[in-house]
Symmetry: C2
Amino acid sequence: MSITAPAGFRAAGVTAGLKSSGRPDLALVVNDGPDQVGAAVFTSNRVVGAPVIWSRQAVTDNIVHAVVLNSGGANVATGPDGFAHAHATAEKTAALLGASAADVVVCSTGLIGVPLAADKLLAGLDRAVDGLSVDGGPAAATAIMTTDTVPKQVLVEAGGWSLGGMAKGAGMLAPSLATMLVVLTTDAVVDAATADAALRAATATTFDRIDSDGCMSTSDTVVLLSSGASGHTPEPAEFAEAVQSACAQLARALIADAEGASHDIAVQVVGASDEAAAVAVGRAVTRSNLFKAAMFGNDPNWGRIIAQVGTVPEEVAPFDPAELDVRINGLLICRAGGAHEDPAQLDLAASREVHVVIDLHAGDATATIWTNDLTHDYVHENSAYST
Amino acid sequence: MSITAPAGFRAAGVTAGLKSSGRPDLALVVNDGPDQVGAAVFTSNRVVGAPVIWSRQAVTDNIVHAVVLNSGGANVATGPDGFAHAHATAEKTAALLGASAADVVVCSTGLIGVPLAADKLLAGLDRAVDGLSVDGGPAAATAIMTTDTVPKQVLVEAGGWSLGGMAKGAGMLAPSLATMLVVLTTDAVVDAATADAALRAATATTFDRIDSDGCMSTSDTVVLLSSGASGHTPEPAEFAEAVQSACAQLARALIADAEGASHDIAVQVVGASDEAAAVAVGRAVTRSNLFKAAMFGNDPNWGRIIAQVGTVPEEVAPFDPAELDVRINGLLICRAGGAHEDPAQLDLAASREVHVVIDLHAGDATATIWTNDLTHDYVHENSAYST
């Protein structure tokens, strides 16, 4: 159940000394082939880290030999030195592996605006290469953790081939990708176009539909590597389904481990005129601090839900406010825009997961956005992060 | 310093029993003329309360005789009964005053989805009319409070005429008007077009630029009443300036009393290509929970600021991420997109107010958005509001 479960991959996780805690902070994933197909999706933030600038370029030819990931420093807003550090990281990794620097993807996570301790990182690369192993997936998944409390890994097994994944990201989870780094590995034989299409389709409906705190990161990266080592060539649809499943599982794991959360909340919009309308309404609700604070208080305050639904412009999501239905955990507490079943029947404290269904009665489209509640622990963790 | 300071107005604030606390919850403002010019601006939320539906209609002829405002129930998502209650409120007020119901504006604030205790409200109206007084402004300002800790009042004095105001609203403050009810009174002689234009211009750059928690209300209403009792007819520009000043002072007072806040934060965007770009960037930053939690922690985490700036699409706000400057309380902590002065020089705990300046270096336009920090108290108050 890791990125080294598929054939053709080695990985390592070591301590380079970037984290003051002394915990592992440098991961390396190597694709030993025979194929070295790579595809990637990056944050849509206009302020991005040097590693994103480097890696966007590195994946344009859809060949990726290795991925270096560090926690303990985002290398964002670090100027020309920051880019030189990302470049040097790729160069040294390539030299150690006998590869081309242009085939090395670099990912960094941590504080923005702090210079990367490049000397430590480069020294750590020697140990990471020495530590590469076909059992190294779990160590790599641990080394990329920041405020995550558990490593996130996944394995999808198909007929004769498999797809593994790892992810980090516990804060700044938001649409257009969370603050997260994800590596997916597969031993299926896939061409670049198939890999790219499968990855884009999967991220659009998984990582792009989780929104923990509405804050889009500068460093989000999802990389898919294919070694082709299984010799099996799945149908594109079969492959896409596996990528979708792996991404959905990792996205769910990210939400389950979001900073300070006590509830995982699925906001499902049904009866929308089209999928974009459903997504817009879902995002409006999952962005509401008032709604999220109410969920923390186990208060099924549906008024805060319909107030947010009403903020979506009509041209984006047509609906009649007098027809809105809201269910929480199956109970129809708002019908036709007004109070219906007694919310006192609900005991939100009984489970971590809360399921909200909003029916717009305006069509057949649906979408689900995941978020968390807004808690004291979220405020605590995020008011004391850099100091 | 109240809505009854200008000549021609009486007001009252009484206890109708809508609030379980037993505090005053019903306010009445009457314009005794000779003019009864009225203008109003309402929430742009598509889900609105019955009072908003009623009052939008009532102000179309720009004649407003009285404003009834209640706390202790928003009368939102209350269906046909809710509209009937708003209508009955206007009818009874009109009957008691010898006016037309179509000239009575009704405003309600409180929980969404709970039926209004219309019998109590209607009974309270008798006492409110009995209590009307030219000194009643402060009592009215107190009766409209919900989670506000202080009444908010203002008085702008001009040559021979004046403009008074009162406001409530401590949560759900967000662009496109806060959860707030505002009544402005003036004894200046102004025509409907002048009143309307002055009110729209002022709200666009004051109430519409405060964003406490990103949540747009269903009930926001700002009403301006002119009695003409001073006999003075100011120039439209002079009148507009007074309305602007009163709205700015009340908006600032709302932010200063926002739920659970410990910092008032002005995010000023300069060097923008146009005002809309400056507003968009300012709103992106003031919506960031990560930024707001950092402010609560007195942590000048500028990385979270530029990460939010980067979420604004280029077609909305052109800028080069490598040219962004950020000042906090005058200290240039981010220059040209990277670290500059040492943030440790800042002591954000030293004052309630924090001033952030973001220079996009893309033009000459500027805008300021006010917000608050995200605190434990905010989470506490909003996780236990309806239960």
